[in-house]
Symmetry: D2
């Protein structure tokens, strides 16, 4: 492939395993309902509760936002972007949906591969 990892594969592991999975897992935060043809904000943050290292040779290089098989947006970062301490990498995308979406975020760590978020369903309705 590459194999795509997700938190749920690791959630029954020992604490060390759960910490590893936590800090690699992208999380989507947005409203449940969007208005058709209007700008809609989607926050993607990496790490459920724990910050990930941000060293040049161990960091998140990019985050993608998908609606099923369609790529909506991608953000790329440099090693310098997030300083030298562990960090929850974060970006707000804006999309203008025409139909309901099944969002998923993918994030690439240059040491531990591609991780996916849980899927988030956004219902798209007409404005009143």
């Amino acid at each position: 492939m590459p194999r795509i990892f997700s938190y749920n594969e690791f959630k029954d592991g020992i604490d060390e395993v759960k910490t590893y999975a936590d800090k690699h897992s992208p999380v989507i935060t947005c409203d449940d309902i969007a208005v058709r043809d209007s700008k809609f904000k989607v926050n993607v943050r990496i790490g459920k509760t724990i910050a990930h290292p941000n060293k040049a040779d161990h960091r998140f290089e990019y985050v993608q936002l998908w609606d099923l098989e369609t790529l909506l947006a991608e953000a790329r970062f440099s090693a310098i972007t997030f300083g030298r301490s562990p960090v929850m990498v974060e970006v707000d995308f804006y999309v203008v949906p025409l139909v309901s979406m099944r969002l998923k975020a993918l994030a690439y760590c240059n040491k531990h591969g591609v991780w996916e978020s849980e899927e988030v369903f956004v219902k798209v309705i007409d404005s009143k």
Copy 2:
């Protein structure tokens, strides 16, 4: 090069020229002061006051955020990301600054080339 365009080159033109420049110009919005080693939000929006077409063959493909000669972050979009109507493409980046920054955004329109924002100075101070 490519040549890099900016609003100021066109600001003394006729209305049609100014409209053209307005809708291609990225605008950075953020606080004047950031706290060292803390997450800092930077909004980049394309269009001073006017939305740009979002057709597959005439749209903004990517936005970059620079601190002088250092690339901090880049966001890429698909044709489908922003629907079918003119739109002000937008993204919120987060950075963790170590020193003061001179931010500039570059945006690439696949019909009219690369456009730069005005430079924004952000003073970085220590938290109290």
Copy 3:
């Protein structure tokens, strides 16, 4: 996810299905053996035997080259890059391997999603 498609899922279908899968499938071409610490060329071409449309709203946007879970390189194209006729999108990457590789290419069609190549094993040996 997004789901990742591969030719083999479709190879027992009717001709129309096989044609569809053929023109979406990336193909890696390279030597079987590479010399450690030396530049090694890897050709990635999309389409086993059939060219894919290259329209702004139906085309391949990017190709990635992976070694298991490690991203080696990525190439992105504009709608204008490959003219207006169907085309086998193509790029030659160069890598400098330290250990043997299991290469796989992923390609993203903005209408039909992500497609993966077959895996190619490259043995890395020391120069004599």
Copy 4:
């Protein structure tokens, strides 16, 4: 900006300066003449004669190929792509030209910024 650097600014400097500029300068190699609507190969290599370091915090992150103000293609690399020794980063793009081109390559070093190649004119003719 960012400011875009080129070899010619440094060519009258002392040897150390010329070496610095040499290893940062992208070089385009291709035929002078291309056939309209046919695939045309363009090699981009970074370094006129001297290899550049390839460390995670000092390396070339991406190369772009431009035809005047139009982006034709972009290749991105990871720190791991080119091993641990200095290297001339390299990629072969393929384009299908419709009209004559004025090619220029831009390359981004994460320590020393964006560097441009010399412009290469490619005449596009009809096949006989």
